[in-house]
C-alpha cells in the first residue's frame, strides 16, 4: 500500500506578504468561499488543481511555491 501524501501550503504566509490580504479578499479573487480558504489553510481540504492554480495566480507565483507535500 502506498503511503499517504500530506499536502501542506503557505497561504497564510503568502497572504501576510501580500499586504495582509484577508481571507475574504483571496476568496473573492479566486471565486471560492471564505470557508474554503479557511479549510485549505488549516489543511482540512486539498483543493483541485484548477483551484490550486487560481490561488497561485492570485499571488502571482507558481503552484509549487504555494503547495508542498510530505510523504
Amino acid at each position: 500500500m502506498r503511503n499517504k501524501i500530506e499536502i501542506t501550503n503557505n497561504i497564510r504566509k503568502l497572504r501576510f506578504f501580500a499586504n495582509e490580504m484577508t481571507q475574504q479578499e483571496l476568496a473573492e479573487k479566486i471565486g471560492a468561499s471564505r470557508q474554503t480558504i479557511i479549510a485549505i489553510e488549516a489543511g482540512k481540504y486539498s483543493p483541485s488543481l484548477e483551484l490550486a492554480f487560481r490561488i497561485a495566480d492570485a499571488f502571482g507565483i507558481t503552484i509549487g511555491e504555494v503547495f508542498d507535500h510530505e510523504v
Binding site: 468561499s33 470557508q35 483543493p47 483541485s48 483551484l51
Partner: protein
C-alpha cells in the same frame, strides 16, 4: 460558524419539525382509532401533504434565515463602525453575502458525500419496509418505515454536512 453551516442547521431544524409534526398528527389519529392500518388512502394522503408542507416550510424558513442573516451582518457592521451610513452597510452586507454564499468545489464535494450517506440510510429504510411486509406487518407499516427513513436520511445528510464542514474533507 459560517454561512453553509448555518444554512444546514436551518434545514435540519425544518426537517426535524416536519417529521415531528407528521409523527404527532399521524400516530395520534391512529391511536385514537380514527384510522386503521389498512386505510392506505389516509396514509398516502397524509404523507403527500407532509411532503408539500416540508417543501413549503423549507422555502419559507430559508427566506426568513437570509433576512435574519442580512440583519445580523448589518448590525455587526453598525457596531464596528457607528459612523457608517446605510449605503456603506448595504455594501458590507452585499460583500459578505457574495463571498460567503458562493457554492464552490468544497461545498459540492461535501454535498455529494453527505447525500451518499443519506441515500444509504433511505435505501436501508426501503429494504426494512419490504422486510416488514415479509414479516406480515400491514402495508401502512411499510409506508411509514419508508417515509420516516427518507426523512431521517435527509436529516442524517444534514448532520454529515455539518461534520464534514467541521472536520474537513479529503478528495480521495
Amino acid at each position: 460558524m459560517y454561512y453553509q453551516e448555518k444554512k444546514t442547521i436551518t434545514s435540519i431544524i425544518t426537517g426535524i419539525a416536519v417529521l415531528t409534526a407528521y409523527c404527532i398528527y399521524a400516530f395520534s389519529r391512529y391511536q385514537s382509532g380514527a384510522v386503521t392500518p389498512g386505510d392506505l388512502k389516509f396514509w398516502a394522503t397524509t404523507m403527500l401533504i407532509f411532503i408539500g408542507i416540508g417543501v413549503a416550510a423549507s422555502i419559507v424558513i430559508q427566506i426568513i434565515f437570509h433576512i435574519l442573516l442580512s440583519m445580523s451582518i448589518a448590525y455587526h457592521e453598525k457596531v464596528k463602525n457607528s459612523q457608517c451610513d446605510d449605503k456603506e452597510i448595504e455594501k458590507a452586507v452585499d460583500k459578505t453575502m457574495s463571498t460567503d454564499m458562493v457554492e464552490d468545489e468544497m461545498d459540492k464535494l461535501i454535498e455529494l458525500k453527505s447525500a451518499r450517506i443519506g441515500y444509504v440510510f433511505a435505501g436501508i429504510g426501503v429494504v426494512g419496509g419490504l422486510v416488514s411486509l415479509v414479516l406480515n406487518y400491514s402495508p401502512a407499516v411499510m409506508l411509514n418505515i419508508m417515509f420516516i427513513s427518507f426523512c431521517a436520511g435527509s436529516l442524517l445528510e444534514g448532520f454529515a454536512q455539518l461534520h464534514f464542514y467541521r472536520s474537513g474533507i479529503k478528495n480521495a
